[in-house]
Each structure stands twice: as C-alpha cells, then as structure tokens.
Amino acid sequence: MNKTTDISTLIDNMAGELRERVSIDGQTAMVGIHTGGVWVAQRLHSLLGINEPLGVLDISFYRDDFTRIGMNPQVRPSQLPFSVDDRHIILVDDVLHTGRTIRAAMNELFDYGRPASITLAVLVERDGRELPIEAAVTGQHMELGEQEHVKLTGPEPLQLEINRAP
C-alpha cells in the first residue's frame, strides 16, 4: 500500500531540472496549488531562492464539476502577492492526473493577469490524462490502475500514499 519514496530527493531533482529549464530572475514567480502542491512549492521555492513570495491557489471556484458536486466546504483564499502580468510563472502541484486541476488553475491565473509564460512542475505524473496538459518537470512517473489513487500527505513528513478505491 504505502510506497515509501524519498520525497526530498524527488524535490531536489525537480529543483535541479527547473534551474536548467527556467532562468530564475526577478520576473520569476512560483505558485502552488492547495494543498499538496503548496507543500511541494514551499520546498522548491526556497531551494531555487525565488525572490517573490510564494503564491497559493485554491481552485475550488474554477472547478468544472461544481454543477455536479456543489461547493467545496473547505475552500481557502487564493493569494498571489505579486502582479501576474508579464511574469514567468512556475505552477506546482503534487499529482498530475486528469489535467482538470491544472486547467482550472490556469483559468484562475489568467483572471489575475497575463503571465509571460507558465511552466508546470509536478511531484508525481500518473496516467489518465483527459486534457492536453503535460508537465515540464516531473519528480516521478507512476502507472496506476483506474481504481488507484495517489495522494501526498503532509506537511511533515511528506509521504505518498497509494489507495485503491473500493
């Protein structure tokens, strides 16, 4: 059940890859997606020494399944403490699965402004994409069954849990 992967090593590798792909300068900003994405982003943010404070997104208001499941009772405020306009944004999430969360996050980002670019970094990339969205930087790739779900728990310690839906 519990795959003990060394998350720190994965995040270190992600940071190294991001340094190669993105030039980290005054125009770079990082945004984590609630909740797991923020945990990963906090570590990447300090590893990369990004000047702008970390932004956080709660995409509840941008989900495409609101009409079916209603309001998420645990929504938290999104906070982007910098101007999005002309910014090179590194968007961070814990798991990339269907791609719908990233679609919602990009829609929300564009309601704050027009970024120069968005680079997607995820801790785990798994199969099951439903939208044409891919990560530029990935900590780990996983092949999982349709009934299997991977989840990041944390914040201390960060652990990946694989659960099988009943």
């Binding site: 709660d58 509840s60 208001f61 941008y62 495409d64 609101f66 009409t67 079916r68 499941i69 209603g70 309001m71 009772p73 929504v75 938290r76 405020p77 999104s78 906070q79 982007l80 829609n107 929300e108 564009f110 309601d111 704050y112 402004g113 439903e130």
Partner: protein, 325 residues
C-alpha cells in the same frame, strides 16, 4: 421545521432563510467561504466561473438599493445570470398571486430566488413551494429575519476583531423592536458564543421578553456602551413606526444618538457598525459615521463576498443530468 427546510439530508445548505435552525459549523463555513470570495476582488477579472449558466432572480417586494445591488453584484461575480424583479409593495400580493408569480418564473428554469418582502415568513413560504432544485435566500422578511445582513456583520466583526467571539462585548443600539437585522444578529452572535450581548434602546423600542434571547437590556446609552468592543447602530425605521413610540427624532438623538463623546466609554479600539442607510443626526453624528472607528463602508464591501458565499453554498448541484465531459 425550518431545520429541515434549510439544511438538506446531506447536511448542506439548501435554503438560507433565517439564522435559527442553523448550527455554528455552518455559520463558520459561510464565513470561511466568504473569506475566500473576498480575495476575488483582488483579481483583475473580478469574477469566478462558479455559477455559469445558473439563473438567479432577485424578487423584491420591498424597496431596497444596497441589498439588491450587492446581491446582484454577488451573483454577477459568480458568473450567474441575474434577473431583477421589483414588485411594488402597494400592489398587495395575496398568497395565490405570489404562487402564480413563482410558477411562472420557475417555468423559465430559474435556479434561485432572492426574496425580500414586508411580510414576515414570505421567504419560508416560497421555500416550501418551490421545485426541489430551486433554492431560496431570504433578503429580509418583515420584522422576522435578515440573515445575510447578520452574516456580513459577523464577517466584518471577525475581520476587525479576530475569530474569538467569546472575548467580545457587542452592543446593539436602537430600534430593536422593528429590526429584523437585530433579530438575526442576536441569533448569530449567540450561536458563535459571543462574550456579552447587549441591546440598548428606549423601552418603547425593545420587544417584550427580549432577555429570553440571551441579551442584557440597557435603557441608558452611556451604560450600554461601557467597555463595548463592537457597537452596532440600527436604523430608526421611520416607515415602520406606528403611533407615538418616540417623542421626536431630535429627542431620540439627544438620548441615543452616537457621538464621539458618548463613544468614549467604549473600548479605545471600538468598532462602530451600521447596516445602512444612515439617518445622519438621528442615529449617529457624522464625526462618528465617517470617523476612524467606523467600518460602515467595509460592511458594504463584505456584503458582496458574504452573499457570494451563501449563494454558492445554497445553489443546488445538478443531479441526474450528467454533463457530457
């Protein structure tokens, strides 16, 4: 009765009619959700796509500018389509006619009614008769309830004073007898375990047995404001006054009008609130209304986020109609 009407079998908000019948967890959920919506105003595009394709009808049988406008803006910031229907109070609406109005609007496939009416119980009546997928929000009914106003006031207090209501003394001053706002505020503040809740007014403007709601009654403003953290001034409802409840507005101001001098007995960081519209020189002096303790305009701003929260939480999910993606 109202418990079942307002809360669905899944524990979610179904209609929002009065604070009575709700629980503390639900009030806190409304406040937390409103906090998230407050951030939407920082976006350059000040709206979220949450209620795209949903239709909300503002059904106002009683004149209102601020409440209707903030409900309308809240609905628009949620990307809903909004219809404003103002039915003049003079064209007395009988039960049957009201139901006909409802059936006609339902035939246009609306999802939510926001209702204001001069008669107590109208929102409940409508909620009992709408189709299962339609939600009802009470925007004020007679002297009974104005729950979204109470929630935005509580939201304002939480923003000003923090989440611990237990250490706060709140004084509600003015026409308690006619005020649906006061009634909803009292229920909400008690649900959140406010430290001390006071009502301050002349005897003619205090309803009988108000102590049973868990408030301390003061007839002297000086005493009622002593060490208060929050002072909520109520509007003198001139249009609702029947008979000789007050000698005159001038006399009322002399005894109960809030001035800088009178405010001095409250805590130094006291917060002054008013649901609007203010009668300057009747309930309060302009120095107080526009002064450093006043959060009257913040209340208006927060009213939008609070109403966005209530509307999105009460909006019924579409069931049995799987979308094609």
């Amino acid at each position: 009765m109202s418990v079942n009407l307002q809360i669905g079998e899944d524990g979610r908000l179904r209609h929002f009619l009065s604070i009575e019948g709700l629980n503390r967890a639900l009030l806190t959920e409304i406040l937390d959700t409103a906090e998230s919506f407050a951030g939407v105003t920082e976006q350059s595009v000040k709206k979220v796509p949450l209620l795209r394709g949903r239709t909300i009808v503002n059904l106002f049988f009683e004149a209102s500018t601020r409440t209707r406008t903030t409900f309308e803006l809240a609905a628009k910031r949620l990307s809903a389509d909004v219809l404003n229907i103002n039915i003049s109070a003079s064209s007395a609406v009988k039960g049957e006619t009201l139901l006909d109005t409802l059936r006609n609007l339902e035939a246009m496939h609306v999802d939510m009614f926001v209702v204001r009416h001069a008669d107590s119980g109208t929102a409940h009546f409508i909620a009992r008769h709408v189709q299962p997928h339609v939600s009802v929000i009470n925007a004020g009914d007679g002297r009974h309830a104005h729950p979204t106003q109470a929630m935005l006031d509580i939201f304002t207090i939480r923003r000003e004073k923090g989440p611990d209501f237990g250490r706060l003394t709140v004084a509600i001053v003015g026409d308690i007898a006619h005020s649906r706002v006061a009634r909803s505020q009292i229920h909400a503040l008690n649900l959140l375990n406010v430290g001390e809740l006071r009502v301050v007014a002349p005897r003619t403007l205090i309803p009988a047995h108000v102590e049973s709601l868990g408030v301390r009654v003061f007839h002297d403003l000086h005493e009622g404001l002593r060490d208060a953290d929050v002072v909520i001034m109520l509007r003198l409802q001139r249009e609702r006054m029947e008979g000789a409840m007050l000698p005159s507005e001038h006399e009322y101001y002399r005894l109960y009008g809030l001035t800088r001098e009178r405010l001095a007995t409250a805590k130094p960081d006291v917060t002054v609130m008013h649901p609007g519209p203010i009668n300057r020189g009747v309930e309060m002096d302009s120095h107080v209304a526009d002064g450093p303790h006043s959060v009257i305009l913040e209340q208006v701003t927060y009213g939008i986020a609070t109403r966005m929260a209530v509307m999105s939480m009460a909006m019924h999910p579409v069931t049995g109609q799987e979308s094609h993606d």
